[in-house]
């Protein structure tokens, strides 16, 4: 979500942060409706620009980190852009309409606006880092479900604190608050 601007009391524009309704006061959720949705675990439907078939790519035994290439290097796995797609699709499956569509987009210098499916809100005060999890051989599917059976990624594993801490306890990883919350 892009920050929008509202006029503040002194007339200047204040940049709002994602999920923030006004520059002055919010509760933990921006609206009452958002709080209810959160309590009932209702998530918005993610409208992706293209129905990306995860199942076909995983079925061809392409490892996750081939496209989500930041995953073993730092905090963010990264959502690949068109340049990553075109590494293979310059030559592979060029007769399919969807591939021709993205090739045309690339030629025009455009990119796909993927919506993020997983992630923490600022109110969670969580700083997650992928790299140490990969290094300690946590399967991607542990936290992201069986993406190989999905087309566009669905959020079907809930990242609650209990979910994280159970695994940290089992693997004797740190459960110090300052491991994740800062």
């Amino acid at each position: 979500m892009q920050p929008t601007a509202v006029p503040s009391n002194d007339g200047s524009d204040i940049a709002l942060l994602p999920g923030q309704v006004s520059g002055v006061f919010t509760t933990a959720r921006p609206t009452f409706g958002a709080a209810v949705d959160d309590f009932l675990n209702r998530r918005p439907v993610y409208e992706q620009p293209l129905e990306f078939p995860h199942n076909i790519h995983v079925g061809k035994e392409i490892a996750c980190e081939v496209c989500h290439e930041g995953v073993d290097k730092g905090p963010k796995a990264g959502i690949p852009g068109l340049r990553t797609c075109m590494i293979c699709h310059e030559a592979i499956a060029t007769d399919r309409p969807r591939i021709q569509q993205i090739t045309a987009m690339r030629d025009k210098g455009l990119d796909l606006a993927w919506q993020r499916v997983y992630g923490f809100s600022n109110d969670d005060h969580v700083r997650f880092n992928h790299a140490p999890h990969i290094r300690n051989k946590v399967e991607c599917a542990t936290c992201h479900g069986n993406v190989g059976e999905q087309t566009i990624a669905q959020r079907n594993v809930e990242h609650t604190m209990g979910f994280c801490v159970n695994c940290h306890n089992e693997r004797k990883a740190s459960i110090d608050c300052l491991t994740c919350h800062f």
Binding site: H125, P132, R135, L178, T179
Partner: protein, 229 residues
Amino acid sequence: MARWGMAADLDRCNGCGACVVACHSENNISTVGDEQASRGRAKHWIRVERYWEGDFPDVRLKFRPVMCQQCDNAPCEPVCPTYASHHTEDGLNAQVYNRCIGTRYCANACPYNARFFDFFNPSWDKPLQLQLNPDVSLREVGVMEKCTFCVQRIRGAQLQARTEDRALRDGEIQPACVQGCAAKALVFGDLEDPESHVSRLARSPRGSKLLEDVGTQPAVTYLARATQV
């Protein structure tokens, strides 16, 4: 297990305030405007205190950078009803924003005025929101915040060292204030390691702790000014 500490050499500090600026930008500390600041609602995780000694024209000016002293016997911890303020194994005085319900008992208990309450949601004049540090969360209205010794950098360096399968090197971790200090007045490191730079400075005969007699056992050592300017 490390025990993090800092040393501030007052002989080197010239009061330039670079540490304050570095801290604000590293830790996404919002400003509240002059009106609210005059009501005591400004937030500075580190500040440079100024002391004048003597009468004009024989005035001497002394500076002292003051941040959270990360006390071993921290008065802010036992008063917190939600354990938002607590001690970590590596000697950090942690503040967990998720737990904080904003009683402000900790700020009352702190003898160093090192804790700050968020009276407002953070906001930045455009386009300053683009310079926010993604490694540090934004504290919303109603929680207490304070110097963390840049725990995001400590954790980052620890992860990096573990990735490269080696021990942390002395001086590898630099909180923003230490990094920003042009005069190298601030030194950060592990007090458990007797050979680290900060340990050697902490043992210096010039060393003293802030308000030592209240028994908070701070992790920050101030080295008294030896030269007379």
